[in-house]
Amino acid sequence: MSRPVPLLTAGGLVKAHGRTQALRGASVELHAGEILAVTGASGSGKSTLLNCLSGIVRPDAGSVTYDGRRLEDLPEKRLSELRRTEFGVVFQFGQLIPELTVLDNVALPLLLAGTDRAAARVRAGEWLERFGVRGQEDLRPGELSGGQAQRAALARALVTRPRVVFADEPTGALDSLASEQVMTALVHTARESGTAVLLITHDAQVAAYADREVQLRDGAVAALGVTA
């Protein structure tokens, strides 16, 4: 199968945190609609790679190209806008604002995009329903179970219909059953809407939900898994 131009390309990424070298020349490609797992031991640079790819941090060297745009050329304001509109992010925990209700948390990206509050809440409700978080719209995130909170976080990441979802250990704090529910929800929705997913995980069972795997070792790509 001949592949079109990748949606997101990173080449020779180098990033240091103080004296720790997190990335040493990592390169990776993400195609439209593809689910890619990035695996590797703790400290292999997985999260830093995600942060560079999503424009959360700027690499010390190397380049990230998204849809023909070089992220390093964009000012912070444009990067922020990109993350808000074309990307979605999910972390291990704690991305929901504790003071907002679950529904308002999911509606927030729409509100930021200028959608009317009532319309935003209706759409947020639909997405929560898709992720099986029903009847808990008016609770605060602290009142949800870990699995429910992560599904709400996924709903928030996907509510703007982004082209790429970046997920950093989205099931890291969950037991295997909750993890399965979160991953199934993510994979189904991504496939339905053609969203590409970059999935950071140290868990092979989670990585197995992806189409392809990239393994990081010491800040560089160690081996490419078999392409599906």
């Binding site: 031991a41 092979a204 069972q205 990585a207 197995a208 081996a223 898994g225 078999v226």
Partner: protein, 180 residues
């Protein structure tokens, strides 16, 4: 392992009522989707052994429009044996026939590429895990499918973890094997 418990699994399928060999095979493959499919011949030899041991008996024939088929049903002794087996604890880790480990050691002894082998084996494991996950995550997958896929996934995952830690400690292992 399959050979050891096929008789019990067939006994279990007979527990719902008399059945013939072909039907038993079909129901087995349906109920245990991730297991190796039973060969028709294996079903018959196993049924004959069950009859020989007094755990099952022939229950007449049934043609049902097609060719004539022998019906089997479990005896009281068979039901009893089934209950005993179902309640028996399976010995944890009955054997450590670790082919992967053996190959790594042999690769070290023969001056091969144990790291390359582990990496390729890992990729094959991942590929199988992706297939099983796709089966399990497919919309409308029933619980039996999900659970049997999970069983396989957890075992493959265990292998994979072991390969990851082994790959990270290959240098020490090589030194140890070479010194011995």
């Amino acid at each position: 392992m399959i050979g050891m418990s096929t008789r019990h699994i067939l006994l279990g399928l007979l527990a719902t009522g008399p059945s013939h060999g072909y039907d038993l095979k079909r129901r087995h493959d349906e109920r245990f989707p991730q297991a190796r499919p039973l060969a028709y011949g294996q079903v018959y030899t196993t049924l004959q052994r069950l009859v020989r041991d007094g755990l099952a008996q022939v229950d007449g024939t049934d043609s049902d429009g097609g060719p004539e088929r022998t019906m089997y049903r479990a005896t009281d002794e068979g039901t009893h044996e089934l209950a005993r087996w179902a309640g028996e604890i399976a010995p944890p880790a009955p054997f450590v026939a670790n082919e992967i480990f053996a190959k790594v050691v042999v690769a070290i002894l023969a001056g091969g590429d144990p790291a390359g082998y582990l990496s390729a084996q890992r990729a094959a494991h991942m590929e199988r895990m992706r297939e099983l996950t796709a089966v399990k995550a497919a919309q409308g997958a029933d619980l039996a499918t999900v659970l049997s896929a999970d069983y396989a996934l957890n075992h493959l995952d265990a292998d994979l973890r072991w390969m990851n830690t082994t790959a990270a400690r290959l240098t020490t292992l090589t030194a140890e094997v070479d010194a011995a």
